[in-house]
């Protein structure tokens, strides 16, 4: 059995947006190998994971809640587990969940698993693919007319994984409040990369991803609630009063949670540099589009590092290249660049997050060379 990883970040620049924000910091990796044994955080556990003081998970949960502006948070195994827990808390037979048009598949699955009927809003289509507050309000109304009750929950993807569009969560929050529907903000691609404050945005619930955006080993993430919702989300078992129902008692309890804890100080620092990250993405887009026959899709100018390109330029080169559709992946690999799907030339997604300016320059030069092939 081989454990060799396909993309080794010490050797190659990994452009996959899934990978860039979750590239574990040295602090996170050092913590992880100290806690690689299965139940390694449980030596001093008195029965509640989030009350463990050594390692200091109790303080971490408070610190994390403060960082993301939520009254209370708990560590989960990822954003999707948090979404399911929240949907499950709010679900009632015959009720619906309203989702934005750019929601991740795991949002649908989480709502469906919780027994909610899914109502999807629209987006503006090509070229921006933006989700508008109006379309969200219309979908909330449609859900109510179809089910006879307001939606049990609405979920807004703060930054989507297809286009990297950043939604104005505060605006959506107001619409949901007016409709009497609690709003979940999916921050898998935002919290940990950029400043996010749930209270300022007026959201009721929030989920985030440690392995996607907090420079942590996975699987790990968090869910949070504000105000009265916290009591409902973090309700405990009648038979086991110190065990949270939605957390199934305990969640992450090893290398994943301590790496998340160890990564947080560095994450707090890096979100202060968010403007520079966005500027890097904008600079990269300009350089790519200057090559011709390349178009950035989604909102412009970029307000996030996840970039989707439509790339007829590379598709045309592929038609005359002996490697056909695999030429782009191969040409990038030859230059120490990875993260694009093999065979993909018509379009691709990527991220510039965390790369140095020199590395971004290197990427631009590499794509320029490939464009001349």
């Amino acid at each position: 059995m081989s454990f060799e990883r396909v993309a080794i970040d010490e050797l190659a620049l990994n452009l996959n947006p899934l990978q860039t924000g979750g590239r574990a910091s040295a602090a996170a990796r050092k913590a992880a190998f100290r806690f690689s044994d299965g139940y390694s955080v449980c030596d001093r556990c008195a029965g509640v994971l989030h009350d463990i003081a050594k390692p200091d998970i109790k303080c971490f949960a408070v610190e994390l809640a403060d960082f993301v502006g939520m009254d209370r948070v708990a560590v989960t195994m990822g954003a999707r587990e948090g979404k399911f827990a929240i949907f499950h808390t709010l679900s009632e037979p015959g009720r619906g969940a309203v989702l934005d048009a750019n929601a991740h598949y795991s949002t649908y699955v989480a709502a469906q698993r919780a027994g909610l009927e899914v109502f999807k809003s629209t987006n503006t289509g090509d070229p921006d693919f933006r989700v508008t507050p109006d379309s969200f309000a219309e979908t909330l109304e449609y859900c109510k007319s179809k089910t006879g009750k307001p939606a049990a929950a609405a979920l807004l993807t703060h930054v989507d994984g297809d286009y990297g569009n950043l939604n104005d969560a505060a605006g959506f929050s107001k619409i949901c409040k007016d409709a009497g529907v609690p709003l979940i903000l999916n921050c898998a691609y935002s919290a940990g990369r950029m400043p996010v404050d749930g209270r300022e945005l007026g959201v009721d619930f929030m989920v985030g991803s440690g392995h996607k955006s907090f420079a942590s080993c996975g699987p790990v993430g968090f869910m949070g609630a504000n105000g009265e919702w916290a009591e409902r989300l973090f309700r405990t078992s009648l038979t086991h009063p110190n065990k949270n129902i939605e957390l199934l008692g305990c969640t992450a309890r090893g290398a994943n949670i301590v790496s998340f804890m160890a990564a947080l100080p560095g994450v707090k620092e890096r979100v202060k540099r968010w403007d520079a990250e966005v500027a890097k993405a904008v600079r990269f887009v300009e350089a790519m589009e200057s090559l011709g026959e390349i178009r950035q899709m989604g909102e412009k100018p970029k307000r996030h590092d996840l970039i989707r390109f439509e790339t007829p330029l590379f598709h045309h080169i592929a038609e005359n290249n002996r490697k056909r559709g695999y030429f782009l992946h191969s040409a990038l690999a030859d230059r120490g660049i990875t993260g694009l799907k093999p065979g993909q030339t018509r379009w691709f997604k990527m991220s510039t997050f965390g790369f140095t300016d020199d590395q971004v320059d290197y990427l631009i030069e590499a794509f320029k060379e490939i464009a001349r092939m």
């Binding site: 970040d9 620049l13 040295a26 990796r29 100290r34 590395q359 290197y362």
Partner: protein
Amino acid sequence: MDKTIAQRNKQRVEDTFRVLDLMEDVRDIWRDAAPLQNLSEEGRAALTKKIEKARKALDRIEASL
């Protein structure tokens, strides 16, 4: 357990983690310099320092055997 032995064992394990920690720092140097790994003067100096520290820790482990 005899205190001397306990102290020796503790030191060995601490040194083991020290080496691992230093190597994680080295990984970051490679990551920041990927893919060409052309190190600046500062980068080279930092790397050399990490290696020296790791070597000392390894020497201590070996000497304790």
